[in-house]
Symmetry: C2
Subunit: 130 residues, 2 copies
């Protein structure tokens, strides 16, 4: 078949870098991580249960997992106070805060566009039904 003119699909410049960046984004662009960053950015240092309450609707299991992963990625600092009952506090590191800042654009975008998204969804629904 005679190929119609199309984009040549140029192979990307640095596939290795590309891969790494994607891996980071997949990891970091997770629902709970984003919400945790938001509440920690907004409220500063918080203890375990406070983070959970502020996020809302997250199970202890996922909260632990999310915070641990963030800690291992260097996004949060975890401080254990050796008291009984235990007291553990979490706060964003500089890197965590900078990620929060980067996400801020997405947050603002979501706020600004929710009406248009609603409208688009409604239009799509009506366009789909006979």
């Amino acid at each position: 078949m005679a190929e119609p003119a199309r984009h040549p699909i140029p192979e990307n410049l640095d596939p290795a870098l590309e891969m790494l960046v994607r891996e980071i984004i997949e990891r970091v662009a997770d629902k709970w991580t984003m919400l945790a960053i938001e509440v920690l950015d907004e409220h500063g240092r918080l203890r375990f249960t406070q983070v959970g309450e502020l996020i809302g609707g997250i199970s202890q299991k996922m909260l632990t997992k999310t915070l641990r992963q963030m800690e291992s990625d260097g996004l949060v600092l975890r401080t254990i106070h050796p008291v009984i009952p235990p007291r553990v506090e979490y706060e964003l590191t500089d890197m965590g805060r900078s990620l929060g800042a980067a996400f801020c654009g997405v947050w603002i975008w979501a706020e600004e566009h929710r009406d248009r998204i609603e409208a688009a969804r409604k239009a799509f629904r009506e366009r789909s039904l006979p």
Copy 2:
């Protein structure tokens, strides 16, 4: 127990808005959606298979699902050319491009911080093992 001084956990200003923004973010902060936005932002108008090739590693099923969802949210425009074999092209809408721009910050952040993340992970691993 005498409560130590803590943040009063101020209830957030607008829970309804907050909820909507979160819903949008959950939806949009999806791996395939982000990658689709990236390739469409970078290459302009593309047909179905091209999008799939450029994203890489995505199944037809997920590609269809992702693109349909993006269409319903008003992020992409889907143009069906009535020819045989079928030819369908996708391109970002203005809203899709603006979301791409918002994500750009995250992308750049990931590029800039991958070394520090690697280092943090390694340090965490060593700190965890006896």
